[in-house]
């Protein structure tokens, strides 16, 4: 357990902490909010935080080549353990030498534990102290996924960041006793994961804070998890339909308790507003399938909101998807690598040819990564509150109809949107 207990203070200007397979270096802090900018060094290279991580569920980011994903600036993306376990399976991953080689991706990978998909995708999955019991999607025979199985599979995948198997409940679960059981079990399972993890020197295991919407339970979970000194910490169980106000309270409560020199990952978060507010509350890492999925439905994410490119109004619109965007599709024709894609062409092929989905995926991934890049630059220049105001101003040009959850959450960290 003391394996990563090597955190050490560095020179006074930048502070950093290292564990066997990770270095976290804090390079800037917002003087108003809790937002932080940092550099995370992982086995497959450096990434700048805050960061959005696109989700390549089945070892492929929906339609993009790894080369195209790299060109968006992405250096850390997700794979899903459950899906890779089904296809291609552990044996193939071992034979090929892990998921990086398997998918031709030389940068970092993060994998979930596989438990979430069990619970959300499979009928009749239930959780016991041993692990997640489920019926084989194939023939219905009873099966069991334990923390040890999850670690073994993630070790075969070779992800740079692996997640502990946790007992996930929807945050809105009514049974408080069950919620406490899930939280405490997640802590016990973390101990089993740590014990079963074969390669701590080259793969980082993150713990996951549980506890639903009960802030006291979240605090208790933070204490227990932090004591186990994993190289990074995730806040789990959110984005499951809880009120946004509650979501923000949980994130704020956890970040308050967490050690400063470790990366903080809020799982399953992807709407631009959620990202910006969570960064203000002190979170560093996010993932979500929404940007890439909504692309396949013909939606473009822009600084002025989400545009449904299938609408008739875009049929003869020869502007870029988003004016001023620097992605390959949108960047001006005289810039290198510009593809000169127009809204009209996306409209022409949205939901008709996959190429339109690929192009929107390129754009949306770029948007999300760039949003976090801009947030980072603003934090380092200590003008993050101004950035937050600009960002919300783009989405709500009347300067008033901001969502109340965002106003409240930001007020809690010293930004008043309504004062502008």
């Amino acid at each position: 357990m003391g394996m990563w207990a090597t955190a050490r203070r560095m020179a006074s200007t930048t502070r950093s902490a290292s564990s066997a397979a990770l270095t976290f270096e804090l390079v800037g802090k917002c003087s108003t909010t809790r937002a932080r900018a940092s550099i995370l060094t992982l086995p497959h290279g450096q990434v700048n935080l805050p960061i959005f991580m696109p989700v390549a569920t089945q070892a492929s980011l929906k339609g993009l080549t790894p080369e195209q994903l790299e060109a968006t600036g992405c250096r850390l993306c997700l794979n899903n353990t459950y899906h890779l376990g089904l296809k291609p399976g552990q044996e193939v991953l071992d034979a090929v030498g892990g998921a990086h080689k398997f998918q031709g991706w030389s940068h970092n990978l993060l994998t979930d534990s596989g438990g979430f998909q069990m619970v959300s995708l499979l009928k009749l999955a239930n959780v016991t102290e041993e692990g997640v019991r489920f019926l084989s999607p194939h023939d219905g025979s009873p099966m069991l996924l334990t923390p040890e199985h999850s670690m073994s599979l993630q070790n075969s995948i070779g992800s740079d960041i692996m997640m502990q198997l946790d007992d996930v409940l929807v945050t809105t679960h009514p049974d408080k006793a069950r919620m406490r059981e899930a939280m405490e079990r997640s802590v016990r399972w973390l101990d089993r994961c740590i014990a079963a993890h074969k390669y701590p020197e080259r793969q980082n295991l993150f713990c996951i804070i549980q506890g639903g919407l009960d802030l006291e339970m979240r605090r208790e979970c933070c204490r227990e998890m932090v004591a186990r000194d994993t190289p990074g910490i995730a806040i789990g169980g959110l984005s499951g339909g809880e009120a946004k106000d509650d979501f923000c309270k949980v994130v704020a409560t956890c970040t308050e308790q967490l050690p400063e020199l470790k990366p903080r990952y809020v799982m399953g978060i992807g709407y631009p507003e959620d990202l910006v507010v969570s960064v203000a509350l002190g979170a560093d890492m996010f993932d979500c399938v929404w940007p890439t999925r909504t692309a396949r439905f013909g939606n473009a994410i822009t600084k002025n909101g989400v545009l449904n490119m299938k609408r008739e109004m875009y049929a003869a619109d020869f502007g870029p998807i988003e004016e001023g965007c620097g992605c390959q599709c949108c960047r001006p024709a005289d810039q290198q690598g510009s593809l000169g894609i127009t809204r009209a062409f996306i409209h022409h092929n949205a939901a008709k040819e996959t190429v339109a989905a690929h192009l929107l995926t390129l754009h949306n991934v770029w948007y999300q990564l760039n949003l976090m890049r801009q947030a980072r630059e603003a934090i380092i220049a200590d003008r993050f509150p101004a950035f937050v105001n600009e960002f919300f101003g783009g989405l709500y040009p009347d300067g008033q109809s901001y969502p109340s959850w965002a106003v409240n959450a930001l007020r809690g960290v010293g930004i008043d949107l309504l004062e502008g």
């Binding site: 070892a59 089904l86 995708l121 020869f318 024709a333």
Partner: protein, 454 residues
Amino acid sequence: MTVDIEAQEPESTAMRFEILSSALKEGTSATARIGRLAFPGRRPIDTPNFIAVTSRGTLPHVTPDNISKHLQVSGAYFSLEDFVEKSQQNLSRPPPIFSAPTSTTHPTPLHSFTGTPSHITTLLAARRLPAVPSPIGNSTKSISIFTNTGFQNLSTTEYLSAISTLQPDISIPLADLTNNTTATPTSKRALRMAERTDEWIVDWFSSPLSPSTTTFAPVLPIPYPIQWEYLSRLAEDYLPSHQLSGLAIHDPDILPDLSTHQSSLLSLPLLSLSNPSNPHQILRHISLGIDLSLPNFKTAVSPLSEGCSCYACASHHRAYVHHLLQAREMLGWTLLQVHNHAVLSQFFSGIQTTIKNGTFERERINFSRVYDPEMPAGVGERPRARGYQYMSQGGEENAGKKRNKPAWRELGPTAEGETPVEEVPETTQTPVQVPEGDGAKELQEKGLGEVVKE
């Protein structure tokens, strides 16, 4: 033996086509040849070669950056019917492609609207390849085209107006075709096809055409004696006037007749519009003199080859492509498109070399000895096909047939003893693709948990 023919330079356009050498065969003058076709501003095309077939203005599954980076394709076939659907919400709106702005990187509205890189030579025809037969049929003044929102009529005047706006490098005038791949037209119908196409070509050439667009006249898939008047008009009127720049040949088996009766036409670049079902047919067409082919079997499921230098082979391995196809990930199709286009490019470049070395005929016979003429049947699931253009792709025999098995069926017991489908809960997660095999044991072997003994 090789023959060199003087480069001919039509005055009406800046297109250049040079026949560099040809491999003469005994007993016939229809022959394989190598050449170079060049349009101003485009990458020259060494012939024999192939032109990529687009769908709705895009090479399926391949984004423009991947076309530029990873494909050697230098020409693309577009169909007007992919762009001129009537908007249901806004009936009066003209097709947007006609107002697409141009720039230095996208020099014509066709390049610009479709994001096609400027080095690609564009070819515009009225109909997709292969075209869906129209239940309405053609009339004396127009053909029936199939758009996203249904069938429409297209006259030569409308088509010419579209061409003058879109500025393709090559245009193919209207032809009266049945687009029926199973039945040959009756002799009465064939005669009408020839007469109408002949009338339409007169209309075509009597109208002013943008100087940047060349005309490749259609050669009908009917016997030479039925269309000889039309073909001799091409040779006697429009070849000398330099209005005719090439031929778009629906059935290359007419080439020996052409070389006997209208050999002057063979100085033109010859484009095959037939849909070759295997490389043997391509080789045979080339042996008859075809310069440009439009092979359409590129999405066949085939293994990736050793020693190939394409992006898909250089950066990825079979296990990954296999996985992508198994998991029905779209990237699988992208990689196969990249690879298969690379294989075609290598195939055509090999053909060019053998013609140059004078070994084409020998190698062609070798090829037919070594390779099975039947393309292996695809065993994988094809990409999810959406849109009107797939409703009856491939001609009448496929009309109304779905390419893939339906992914979803009605719940509950079904007719004819089929097993009922399990309810799949609506979810925001990527659906589970359950592998074929021995069930839970297999999952256990894959490391996804263990079977519980009860």
